[in-house]
Amino acid sequence: MKLRRIAAFGPAFVVALALLALWEVYVRSGIVTQSVLPSPLAVVQALVDRSDALFAETVQTLLETLLGIVVATVLGLLLALALGLSSLVRQALYPLLVVSQTVPLVALAPLLLIWFGYDIQPKIVLVTLYCFFPITVACADALLSVDPDLIRLLQSMRASNWQILWMVRLPAALPAFFSGLRIAATYSVTGAIVGEYVGAERGLGIYMVKAVNAHATAAVFAAIVITSLLSLFLFVLVSFIERLALPWHQRTLPGKFGQQPERA
């Protein structure tokens, strides 16, 4: 079973290797300079050479990301509850939340610096802004789409609204919560990096800025590779936690498509 799941990645692995080889050949052909596109081997070299520095920055960025995800989860759930349980709140806030998602967050950078300084807070704020929405929407939708007959069943038992929330709505929303969280997880690292961009002492985003200024392109790409891996790691982590937390929930399309991550 385990082996088979890994084997399923075989074709992707082959294609990935082929793409990397093509890339290496392309760069070596000299059509572009390594200052624009370093070769894969040069990137690996940079990853190895700068592993100590990169590790420290990665820890910092991961920390920001995880804290942000926690805050986004709490905020997202609270908002989802508000939206899911009151139609007035829904009418008042939902359109604004949608609009808020169309605002380029980078524009907030100066404000965040002024409000929160360069400590970890602005990163947490940005990760939260990047992540709460998918969680909120998925959960609120799920809270609302609970089979109304289930609610009526509980009402016929004279359950209080709290009992209905606790026994029916929340558990029913859990799979959607994890879907939202999975999407959020893939955004989150980008959020942290944008947050660092506002102003920071360390982190992968700052490392990238420094490397760009030093014209050290291979080092820039090394940081990008780590960013990607972090996102993937969080994506997989959420899926793993979900499988542990929801033993009763079989994905509707098992072995096919997982939940898609969205654009970062």
Partner: protein, 257 residues
């Protein structure tokens, strides 16, 4: 109202407003369920049977008329019957046992005691071996058994069963009918039951109310004088066949095209 009655409806009506029009769904229903009786409602689709059940279960209020449970027409009705809807409505994140324990949990009853009682019932009604499984792994028939047992554990004295066997295939249905009769007899419950199946009604009921198409009126009240305990064979008796014919022709006249 007669205290020997589990349920008494007098002049119950219900209309819904949809846009500017008012749709009358129930038109003055009078109905009684004696304690321990198995009473069935039968009527065309959309005539208002579930609407009536909602009112009795306390999920809805009549536009006019009175509803008395145990002679009491005043107290809120929610919680005073075990209401089972058409789908099993099991909570997929709870095991069979935890599903059955939903009622006591809502009532905040002592957990340990409820659990023992539930285990006892599951054993008696053939569900013990599934106790720790999730509903997704059960067949349709099994799910309905679990749902029925959950309903009984919530309130064994008065059951409102809205087409509980409607979604099952004909053979599974036959075996659940007998199982249900067994349950009813063990607990001496008063049952109000909905079905579209005349033969099912005849097999199970002491009394059958036949409803008209919407707005629902009571077309006929039939007391089923077949022997108890009822068995499948009783349906082949002349009296049963006559009742079946009678009820069918009544209903087919009400059936939309």
């Amino acid at each position: 109202m007669n205290p020997g009655y589990k349920l008494s409806l007098r002049g119950v009506t219900r209309s819904f407003r949809s846009g500017k029009r008012t749709v009358e769904v129930l038109s003055s229903i009078d109905m009684d369920v004696r304690k321990g009786a198995f009473v069935t409602l039968i009527g065309p689709s959309g005539c208002g049977k579930s609407t009536l059940f909602n009112i009795i279960a306390g999920l809805d209020v009549p536009s006019s008329g009175t509803v008395a449970i145990d002679g009491d027409a005043e107290s809120p009705r929610a919680g005073r019957s075990g209401y089972m809807l058409q789908q099993p409505l099991l909570l997929p994140w709870r095991t069979v046992e935890e599903n059955i324990l939903l009622g006591p949990e809502v009532r905040r009853e002592a957990r340990q005691q409820a659990r023992e009682e539930a285990r006892e019932l599951m054993k008696r009604f053939g569900l013990a071996e599934f106790a720790q499984q999730y509903p997704a792994t059960l067949s349709g028939g099994m799910k309905q058994r679990v749902a029925l047992l959950r309903t009984v554990l919530f309130n064994r004295s008065f059951l409102l069963l809205d087409e509980p066997l409607g979604a099952l295939d004909a053979l599974t249905r036959l075996s659940l009918q007998m199982w249900l009769l067994d349950l009813w007899q063990s607990f001496q419950s008063s049952v109000l039951f909905i079905t579209h199946d005349v033969r099912e009604a005849l097999l199970l009921s002491d009394r059958i109310y036949v409803l008209s198409a919407r707005p629902a009126r009571i077309l006929r009240v039939v007391d089923v004088d077949l022997p108890r305990p009822r068995r499948q064979e009783h349906l082949a008796e002349a009296r049963a066949l006559q009742l079946e014919r009678e009820l069918l022709s009544l209903l087919l006249k009400e059936q939309p095209v």
